[in-house]
């Protein structure tokens, strides 16, 4: 029964799949039905409303193509699109350019303090990019930035600023460094799970470390590299905070700041905003089409039930210089900006500068105890993020499995649907969710479930892309073996595939959990006084100009998330232990899953 296969696409797979359907029609129908239903509820329905909105006039509510016509007739609306494209491409190039080598260093070499680098990269990930931007404004604003002040003290008071964060370059830099964690995590989990035979072969044939990396290792994880490139691109396209902070002062409009203007108008142009997102969808669709062209039918199977990763490449004399290079990213994305934020958060009034009298834990006290809303918000944030991330990873993995193994006819449609939400900026998706779930029969407005669903949907593309890139590296042989021994599809998936995906699933969980906990915009029209989350409070404090409080709450958010990551450490070690035992000759992996719940 060659049901599961990567190399026989399209209808052939569907045809061979049919006998299985006949054998266990109910279970299979239920699983696929549930996945299809969930995708419909989480993505198709809210997105359908967004699409529907885009064809209506904001003033009259009448059906129109006018919104689209406006986009292409007005230079005012075209310019932001081009700026956004530039920002997105540059962000993706930086993210992949830094993230991939960093992932290789951490996953495949004997770099010192590998785990520390990993945690620090996650720390950058925890940081909402507008917080990072705030930190960098303190560091590199042309007149007042501390780094520029330092520069003037060296080069003379008349010297121009060394850095100007209020520029396209500044925005690209910030978007880039805060997007590296995506490419880093996706590529490093692919590398972690990779077999070493091909690398060994290259080494045997006399290839050096660098050449092996460039011509064997990295190409083998191409699916993860491309997936992370696309995700980073989308990040650059959809981030709001960074351009709002850094590009507004220079007068460079991008799509997201323009969207914010639509919402700011009176009356708000919600429908116009919906239409304005569609070009983003088109561009991203083109990227996916290119990915298909590049990956084609090539195979990237490196997990095949034989030997597994474990041995590390010795860097030799390059060990410490490489460590220095690996520290650069944490330096610019964590240490420097957080030093600035920490200093501000520890002052009673930050304009007074640093002095003993001005030093205070007041804002931490205020954030933790002085504000009645914070408690509920912290609990809500943690609860909703945990539920949403779990739901998201489960659904994303199953969809990725169905797509990768082409288990049903039209499986790739599932994948396309699972990718849509991330491309639509959160504030627009929020309107879609609002429209879809404030009416019968699914009136969920005001319930935590709606928030959890919106969060899960928004980051489903990450879970799906991440799951897919891991699955591409897992050969179907073991699954076939299980099937031929009589295990059903479900059992094979749970007891072979999931354990083989191993730590990748855990990293995938964090890859979704962390952006959810810092997400704001998709929740904007869905939160209620009872379901308030931490980011709304941070944003309100920022809105009210209370920078000390913003910094204190950001530091707290960071600490909470890091504590969670630390708590997950033992879990990660568990999966590593299992891998070693597998390496020692066990053919089948233990049956228990490693999905964190």
């Amino acid at each position: 029964m060659g049901v599961i296969s990567t190399d026989s696409p399209d209808s052939a797979a569907a045809a061979t799949a049919r006998p299985v359907m006949a054998r266990v029609p109910l279970a299979r129908t239920v699983v696929f039905g549930a996945v299809a239903l969930l995708l419909f509820l989480l993505v198709v329905l809210p997105f359908g409303w967004v699409l529907n909105n885009s064809f209506h006039d904001d003033l009259t509510g009448a059906w129109t193509l006018g919104n689209y016509a406006r986009i292409f007739q007005s230079a005012d609306l075209l310019e932001p699109l081009f700026n956004s494209l530039l920002l997105a491409v540059a962000t993706a190039v930086i993210a992949v350019g830094i993230g991939v080598p960093l992932a290789w260093l951490v996953s495949r070499t004997d770099l010192p303090f590998r785990r520390t680098i990993r945690v620090l990269t996650l720390t950058a990930f925890v940081t909402p990019s507008f917080i990072g931007a705030t930190g960098w404004i303190l560091l590199a604003a042309p007149n007042s930035g501390w780094l520029n002040a330092l520069w003037r003290s060296l080069a003379g008071a008349e010297a121009g600023p060394l850095l100007n964060i209020y520029s396209m370059t500044g925005a690209i830099f910030i978007c880039g460094i805060y997007t590296v964690p995506y490419s880093f995590t996706m590529v490093s989990s692919a590398l972690d799970e990779m077999a070493v035979e091909l690398e060994d072969a290259a080494a045997t044939l006399g290839s050096g470390t660098l050449r092996t990396m460039l011509s064997i290792t990295i190409p083998l994880v191409t699916p993860a590299v491309i997936a992370s490139f696309i995700l980073s691109f989308i990040q650059g396209l959809t981030l709001f905070g960074v351009p709002a902070f850094l590009l507004t002062p220079t007068g460079i409009p991008v799509v997201t700041t323009k969207l914010a203007e639509f919402y700011q108008l009176f009356p708000p142009e919600i429908y116009m905003a919906a239409a304005y997102c569609m070009p983003l969808l088109l561009v991203t669709a083109m990227l996916f089409w290119m990915r298909r062209r590049i990956l084609g039918r090539k195979q990237f199977v490196t997990i095949s039930g034989k030997s597994r990763a474990g041995r590390r490449i010795a860097l030799g004399a390059a060990r410490w210089p490489a460590f220095g290079a690996a520290l650069l990213l944490p330096l610019v994305s964590v240490f420097l900006p957080y030093a600035a934020l920490l200093l501000v958060s520890l002052t009673r009034a930050w304009g007074q500068g640093l002095s003993w009298e001005n030093l205070s834990l007041h804002w931490y006290w205020w954030a933790l105890f002085g504000n009645s809303e914070t408690h509920t918000a912290i609990v809500n944030s943690l609860l909703f993020s945990t539920l949403a991330a779990t739901m998201c990873v489960m659904l994303g993995t199953v969809v990725a499995y169905i797509v990768e193994r082409r288990m049903v006819f039209g499986a790739s449609l599932f994948g396309a649907v699972a990718t849509v939400p991330i491309i639509i900026p959160g504030i627009v998706m929020s309107v879609g969710f609002f429209a879809a779930y404030t009416r019968a029969p699914l009136n969920l407005y005001g319930t935590p479930l709606l928030l959890v669903a919106a969060f899960a949907a928004t980051f489903l593309p990450i879970a799906y892309a991440h799951g897919g890139s891991i699955l591409k590296g897992i050969g179907p042989e073991l699954e076939r073996a299980a099937r031929s021994l009589g295990a059903g599809e479900g059992r094979t998936f749970l007891s072979i595939t999931i354990p083989l995906m191993g730590g990748g699933l855990l990293s995938g969980w964090f890859l979704v959990f962390i952006p959810i906990i810092r997400e704001l915009s998709v929740a904007v029209f869905l939160i209620t006084p009872k379901t308030n989350v931490m980011t709304t409070l941070i944003y309100n404090a920022k809105d009210g100009g209370n920078y000390e409080a913003v910094c204190a709450m950001s530091v707290l958010l960071l600490l909470i998330t890091l504590a969670l990551v630390a708590a997950a450490g033992p879990l990660t070690r568990l999966t590593t232990v299992r891998r070693t035992s597998r390496k020692s000759g066990r053919k089948t992996a233990p049956a228990e899953g490693v999905l964190p719940t």
């Binding site: 404004i137 303190l138 604003a141 042309p142 007149n143 007042s144 209020y166 709002a244 902070f245 507004t248 002062p249 007068g251 914010a260 203007e261 919402y263 700011q264 108008l265 009176f266 009356p267 708000p268 919600i270 009673r348 009034a349 930050w350 304009g351 007074q352 001005n358 504000n371 009645s372 809303e373 309107v431 609002f434 429209a435 404030t438 009416r439 407005y445 005001g446 904007v524 029209f525 939160i527 209620t528 006084p529 009872k530 709304t536 409070l537 309100n540 404090a541 809105d543 009210g544 100009g545 209370n546 920078y547």
Partner: protein, 351 residues
Amino acid sequence: MMEFSRRRLLQTGGLVGTALVTGGLAGTAFSRIASAADDPLYAAAKKEGALTLYWGSYEQQTMEAIRDAFKAKYPGIEVNLLRQASQTVYTRLRMELQSGVHECDSLGTTNMLHYTELKKIGALAPFEPVDGVHIPDAFRTLDPDKMFHVGAISLTSINFAPGKVPSPPQSWQALLEDQWQGKITTGSPAFSGDVANWVVAIRRKYGDDFLRAFGKQKPKVGQSNVDTVTDILAGERVVGSGAPFSYTLTQKAAGNPIDVVAPSDDAILNLGVTGILAKAPHPNAARLFTNFLYSTEVSMILQKNYWPTLRKDVPWAEGRALDQLKWYRNTGDDLGPEVAEGIAKWKELVR
């Protein structure tokens, strides 16, 4: 007989209490309970048991203080406060109305256009708060049909770094002097309602020439006008235009090196407005809250947080008062298009 005398006693206590409060001594627990318990509106509101506020006026801290004072004065009413930016709150309310969802009792935002639109579609309920008689005369009757009332008074002015600017610009016109080139920070009218309001006022006063000259000063344009304070405290710029009056004073009081100038050619005044929804699920609680806004308690909270008070008889912080200032407010029925035009001109001439 017993009951009668008890009520008399309570009423007397209430009167004494009110007198004490007006006299500047914060009301005792006794007087508060006495005057509240007698109120038939409170009884009706208590029966409803809850109140949902959608508010964008006032920052989180002040709004929470007002909410807490309401809860203390009127126990038994659960208050749900949704505090988001005015335009966000309004957009959400509009969508709710379109979907037939009725959650909101009291709306409070910084844009009067919201209320003229809501009134037009019959979404507001009339109410005349008894304590409204204390509102400053100029804002007592915003709507002849009593559909909406003043909820907040907000002033836009000039702020500066006292240590670095010995003699700050005293007027909007003075901002155009050469010495301020490259020194000014401001918000964007496309993001901030207050700045948009300022642009409309300045164009009415001085026309587009002002914007053209202002653009040549190379101001740093942030999003919100709150960013002016940030830029000044950080030292990025030294003078803020279209700056928030109350918030600057709050930061000054916190010990930050910043101060504010009320321009001689008028501080620009913008009103926050509040209204009760026609289909409010808790209409009596909403009425009770609206009336509470004009209580001495709320004005004392506003004073403490450097906001202009809503009562004539409660001075602002530091002894300031509305009639000590020269101020100007944009009025007229056609503000919507004027704002849009102002933003367009700004983009052409300033950014």
